[in-house]
Symmetry: C2
Subunit: 368 residues, 2 copies
């Protein structure tokens, strides 16, 4: 695996130098992990002129992080607490004869930036401007394989839940049980806080589980994901509780399903982000749902659950092959509830069979 990380760092170094910086300081944990294999808590990565260094906040093992580290990368440990690895890294960069350093201005705080300037005032500070996030958009097959396993785990956890009795249980308990099952099946943990919404809470994006209990006739929407070797996927489904859904429930479900299918079918290398969003959104809007629609229809996933690209009306850019994204339109009717259907897919060229669906749980409207 070490070569993978070294190759990623080499690509970033090329971008940096093209941008006029001799070195780079990476502080955002997911970016550190992407480039170094691991991100011990508080650590930063220096992409130096003569050597790359993982600069850690304390002695080895004092602040365990996650991931399998790149063993070829030398670590520099600050003694004890108190020191800022970002400042230490900038100092080490000047020790390598560097006069310019690109930092992550979207992650680094004003205080830390100021501290670096005061310790190494002659170092010219630039901005990495999301260069690592851009590298992360297109995944290699190893990364996709982690996402695929994570999606399988999430499918399994969800499938088991559907076999159990649901009426009378609270949103919170269902969410916790799903998270336990994710870990049972080999996840590092949940990819994000599991969302379970019942009745009037169903269909709300990012709904935090409450003590409301599942009742006959409810919509039940669930959104969960597994983190597997750091890679995070997402699946969302909506069910109906009881023997037969009401007409309005069938109608709303069919509508959201149609929107989600339209979004999925528009995924292709070269498709504009906004066109994918529009494909799904216009199905909902043409049925009169304008208010309260989520600001996005989907987003990239990977080492973070919410990565580039954003599939949203004003998003700029086009999809590439090997970009995993969610497609997750939904409608929520205040006071009544709603429907949300969410898959993780990998963009693939049509010659390879089109978008690869990672989350394979059925999207039929199940009555439980």
């Amino acid at each position: 695996m070490s070569e993978v990380y070294a190759t990623r760092r080499a690509r970033l170094r090329d971008r940096c130098q093209a941008g006029g910086s001799q070195s780079a300081l990476i502080s955002r944990p997911a970016n550190v992990r992407y480039l170094a294999g691991a991100a011990p808590r508080g650590s930063v990565l220096l992409l130096g002129r003569t050597e790359d260094l993982l600069v850690c906040a304390g002695p080895p093992d004092d602040r365990p992080g996650s991931g399998r580290p790149d063993e070829t990368l030398r670590r520099h440990h600050l003694p004890g607490a108190g020191g800022d690895p970002a400042v230490a890294a900038a100092d080490l960069a000047t020790g390598q004869g560097v006069d310019s350093l690109a930092v992550e201005e979207e992650h680094l705080t004003v205080s830390r930036h100021r501290a670096i300037r005061s310790v190494v005032p002659r170092l010219r500070l630039g901005d990495l401007a999301g260069a690592v996030e851009q590298l992360r958009v297109i995944k290699d097959e190893e990364e996709i394989s982690c996402l695929r396993i994570g999606a399988e785990i999430a499918d399994q956890a969800l499938g088991e839940l559907l076999e159990s009795i649901l009426v009378g249980r609270t949103e919170r308990h269902l969410a916790l049980e799903l998270e336990r099952r994710l870990v049972d099946h080999g996840a590092d943990g949940p990819a994000f806080a599991t969302s379970v919404g019942t009745g009037p809470n169903s269909g709300r994006r990012g709904h935090r589980p409450t003590d409301r209990r599942v009742e006959e006739g409810d919509f039940l929407s669930v959104c969960l994901g597994a983190s597997y070797r750091g890679y995070r996927c997402e699946i969302g489904r909506t069910f109906v509780i009881g023997t037969s859904p009401a007409d309005w429930q069938i109608e709303l479900y069919d509508l959201v399903f149609a929107a989600q299918r339209a979004g999925r079918e528009s995924l292709a290398p070269g498709a504009a982000y906004r066109d994918v969003d529009r494909a799904a959104r216009q199905v909902l809007e043409s049925a009169g749902h304008h208010e309260g629609l989520s600001s996005l229809t989907g987003h990239g996933v990977g080492l973070e659950i919410d990565e580039d690209p954003q599939l949203a009306p004003a998003a700029m850019g086009k999809l590439d092959a090997c970009v995993p994204v969610t497609v997750e339109p939904g409608v929520h009717l205040p006071g009544r509830g709603g429907v949300r259907i969410d898959d993780t897919l990998v963009v693939r060229p049509e010659a390879d069979g089109g978008p690869e669906l990672l989350t394979i749980t059925t999207k039929e409207l199940l009555a439980l």
Copy 2:
């Protein structure tokens, strides 16, 4: 409750104006919640000249946050996605005729700071310099009562675990079960990622649960906490698995217990942070444990699990009454394991009975 938040904002306003700023922009979520009762995701609080405003990233309910909001505080919702509430708040401040704004430089990123400067270039930007964090150090009785309930919940969850069969179960499963029990007993959720360490992993601060199974003769250390109405407490205990602990285990346990007691007994209004640390640390050091000791002996708790003050060798400052802190010394012997004992206490004057112990689970060495 609204008066509580208004009073807190008034105190912060006084500090700001004393520091030469007419208004303040609060972006750190725990600080927003402290001053506004709730922190919808992405929201910031503007402490304005004519009116305070909670500036939210999207329409109401698009990004549910947590906490019970101050209903007297007006909300300003940015339409749809894309806008940065911090930039919008700075713009609103100038609309109120303000010419200086203090921001949280320790939280705000360089990019956001730059965006504010470019949108409202005439606004003079200052630094709040941790003013809200300082206000948060001393808790009122309402806040302490939330911590007390959280500690009771954690004690209950831990107590139930001890009654179950432990041998053969993995660290991960024990951690998940503890988290489920926290929620069963009314927690919002875990206060932080529950740590369970067995055998060689025992006694490590912040150990992430692995698939190692509990074995006869192991030390088992557990650290967990409940979040209750946003307030986070912490308890850590170490047990021995099997009928009779080995001599080295008893010896190490007694030592850490003595250190922890020394730390607890040194908690008093007026005690220097570093003296509390030294009280506990010197017990461990005088027994020859220097290497690998944690860089701190304890820390404040509240809306975040790791708040000011830090009880550490180089910490500056003195304890006040009504400051809740952890006391959590530990020793970890590489390859063998170790002991960690962690309580949450509230500093109280001797006239009121001295430090109030919130986490009351026994600290005898239990053989399970």
